[in-house]
Symmetry: C2
Subunit: 288 residues, 2 copies
């Protein structure tokens, strides 16, 4: 049995059907030291119970997924989204405080897609930047980093109008790096001709809030959200991307986040074991 890398974190979405208690237990039992949490399974048990369970697990918390969805036009729906993100900021702070030393109060943000029947991509992007500006004081007060995650351009219409690391960094730039950073997720950015330069830029600015790894599979399945695969099963060059991340001095946890129907249907303990192996084989991190 492979020993889990000390910086490996299991993002809860990889074992989607496990509840929080099971996810924490499976992760710890496998010798993995860190977990990336999602708001929904936390809400199932309530934040107070969740923080206690996290503390008892002895695991680090590497991030909370997810906030964002900032593209609505001004009005009640937009206000509700901003308020929801304020709650997510507080949850992120509480969960990271409950986690073991080295936990990261990082809230992952997905930008949101184009509003219904709108094709104004540039306007939608502006509204994302405005929402983040509005939330920065809350993030600063809570000691939380808002982590903008560029998503693959195939989701630009319906999920995230922020498609590249360069764009995410442009939005982050006006704010302190402790409050606004970026997520580097190999699945979303591996194809980008500027990816290595932008990773370097992100690192130099101290803005790599999270490094997430999973592979890009073809053919893209009928639910395009589920094209993610275990490292080594697809087309991503983890070596060059991980080296670029390491070269910036990034020393945080590395999350494995995989949305994949077949993986979700596999026994979670087996998924965690396979993740430990694939991580060891494919992610050439320098020793911590």
């Amino acid at each position: 049995m492979t020993t889990a890398h000390p910086r490996l974190s299991i993002n809860q979405a990889t074992i989607k059907y496990a509840n929080l208690a099971d996810a924490l237990q499976l992760t710890a039992t496998a010798g993995v030291q860190s977990i990336g949490l999602w708001r929904e399974p936390v809400a199932e048990v309530g934040l107070q119970n969740a923080t206690r369970m996290v503390a008892d697990s002895g695991l680090r918390v590497s991030s909370l997924c997810r906030g964002g969805f900032f593209t609505a036009f001004e009005g009640p729906a937009r206000r509700a989204a901003i308020d929801e993100n304020r709650r997510a900021i507080d949850e992120s702070a509480a969960l990271a405080a409950a986690g073991a030393a080295g936990s990261a109060p990082v809230l992952v943000l997905v930008a949101g897609g184009l509003p219904d029947r709108s094709t104004d991509l540039i306007g939608a992007r502006s509204r994302v930047a405005e929402a983040i500006a509005e939330l920065v004081p809350d993030a600063q007060a809570a000691g939380v980093t808002l982590a903008i995650e560029p998503l693959h351009p195939m989701y630009a219409a319906d999920r995230a109008v922020i498609s590249t690391l360069g764009q995410a960094l442009d939005i982050a730039e006006p704010f302190p790096a402790s409050s606004v950073g970026v997520v580097v997720d190999t699945f979303h950015i591996w194809w980008d001709p500027e990816v290595l330069t932008q990773i370097e830029r992100a690192g130099a600015a101290g803005r790599i809030a999270s490094y997430q790894v999973c592979d890009f599979l073809t053919p893209i399945p009928s639910d395009a959200l589920l094209a993610r695969g275990m490292m080594g099963d697809g087309h991503v060059d983890f070596r060059s991307l991980t080296r670029a991340i390491t070269a910036t001095g990034y020393a945080g946890d590395v999350e494995v986040e995989i949305f994949n129907a077949e993986i979700w249907d596999t026994e979670p303990a087996e998924v965690v074991a396979r993740t430990v192996d694939a991580f060891a084989a494919c992610i050439p991190l320098a020793l911590p």
Copy 2:
């Protein structure tokens, strides 16, 4: 009935199941003045017959699809691809010469995907650039423009390692604009945060060899190649993209190229009629 815009060109792929004779006739009958051809239906009748049919149709030829697929490692498969592209260059010259005045000897190039089991995207991109360098003398001799088409990043693994207009322009840059240009296809590049800047750059360098329009639909269908839709049915902002193209001084034909199962199953004459209407409604070209 809407009058067809004088710069509208029907790309043959939009009426995929029509043979060359029918495609030419349907296009001309609808009052459309230009057609984008594909090599396969040309090969069905033979090049010599095809040039005669094109001349008889009175239509312009706006491009020939397609060459490329340049990512194979050195060896017989790569040599075969290069030779095939030499034949495609000659076909492009012959078909444009047979078309009405204003025809464009433009060969559309699709880069090709990663070789089997390779994740070396950077290496694959280099081989594309090398193949183009090798073909430039042939293109020059034939008076043909090689038009590099960046494809949507969702095809980066299995179809085209060139994903952005910026990348395509970088590859084109060392060569005369008459020999190497780019295809601006709204479906592939609408999401790109740098798209307007790169269209301006392409225009300033005289490298817009083809402007193709179709919409981007969601959800992405199970065959991801078929996510294209009629203009107005999806998420693309044709207004801003077309204005950027027009602002460069581009005055060539504008091809409608749609891969879509439902459109392919519709009577081709009806598809052409709908295309004429959607083009008039959605593509704000300055008067020619």
